[in-house]
């Protein structure tokens, strides 16, 4: 290349973190709704929470923690110029993302099969608290699931850049930011898991 490309790594990372803060506030709002409605409908929330499968929730927690480990290791691998290993680690993260979505699919389809989904006759006939609980459940895990899909696609693209050498030991902020986004997905799940699957 004949012209010098301007790079600002500190700026790129700062921008990513600022974006992640807005994500924290987005999910913070959903957790706030959860807390306020839990206070208003404690019985209905307890009944709703007991219908969620905590074994599947635990499996998804282990899967996401492992995916985050792979993403963090991929950053270390690129820093050490071990690009082949980094690509495999990113593929590991994406495999975990796929596993997470498969379990989520089984959870959601089991619930929908039992007539529990926003606007279903069963929820409309029941107490208002039950319908609030499941609306929040679908909203929160739905937006989180969307983040898993986006994060997986993003890391897939980053993996091709690592493979081609565009991301390397001297220039890896793209992978770092991709990994940061992925860790945020894990971070949000760390709170969704106890609140929806365990404490009710």
């Amino acid at each position: 290349m004949s012209h010098a490309v301007h790079k600002d790594y500190a700026g790129a990372k700062l921008g990513m973190w600022l974006f992640l803060f807005t994500e924290l506030l987005l999910f913070g709002g959903l957790f706030l709704l959860y807390a306020v409605y839990l206070k208003r409908y404690p019985q209905e929330f307890a009944a709703g929470g007991k219908q969620l499968n905590w074994v599947m929730g635990t499996a998804n927690t282990v899967i996401l923690l492992t995916s985050s480990l792979c993403a963090a290791m991929a950053v270390s691998a690129v820093q050490r110029d071990e690009r082949r290993r980094a690509v495999w680690l990113i593929l590991g993260t994406i495999l975990c993302a796929a596993g997470f979505m498969v379990i989520k699919y089984f959870e959601w389809s089991a619930k929908i099969g039992h007539g529990i989904y926003p606007g279903s006759e069963q929820l409309k006939a029941g107490a208002p608290g039950g319908s609030v609980f499941f609306s929040l459940y679908y909203m929160t895990t739905g937006i989180h699931g969307l983040h898993v899909l986006i994060g997986g696609a993003l890391l897939g693209w980053v993996a091709t850049r690592v493979k081609s050498g565009a991301v390397n030991a001297g220039d890896y902020v793209l992978l770092e930011n991709g990994a940061l986004y992925w860790h945020l997905v894990d971070l949000i799940w760390i709170f969704i898991f106890p609140l929806y699957y365990l404490v009710l």
């Binding site: 282990v62 993403a71 860790h183 106890p194």
Partner: protein, 93 residues
């Protein structure tokens, strides 16, 4: 990127992952017991500890400069204020 960028070793990352798995097992364990309101407090405390490990090591916050740390503090303080003030309203209305 600059020479002084910190490289976290695979061993350290694996240790953090094991700690996160142990904390997950602990949180599942204590919430299976009948502890009443303590269950929520315990589970949230463990979740915050897990989040701290992920942010500090996996997200490299431990190795970042003052700017990012203060911004993180600002974002968490904003979150705490808006959750806290909502609760003043909800609990004492």
């Amino acid at each position: 990127m600059s020479e002084q960028d910190h490289i976290v070793s695979y061993g350290k990352l694996t240790l953090i992952w094991l700690a996160l798995l142990a904390l997950t097992a602990l949180t599942v364990g204590i919430t299976r017991l009948e502890l009443g309101g303590w269950k929520v407090l315990g589970a949230l405390t463990i979740a915050c500890a897990k989040a701290g490990l992920v942010i500090a090591v996996f997200m490299h916050m431990k190795y970042e400069g003052r700017l990012l740390r203060w911004l993180l503090f600002l974002a968490l303080a904003t979150l705490a204020i808006f959750i806290g003030f909502t609760f003043f309203d909800v609990l004492y209305r």
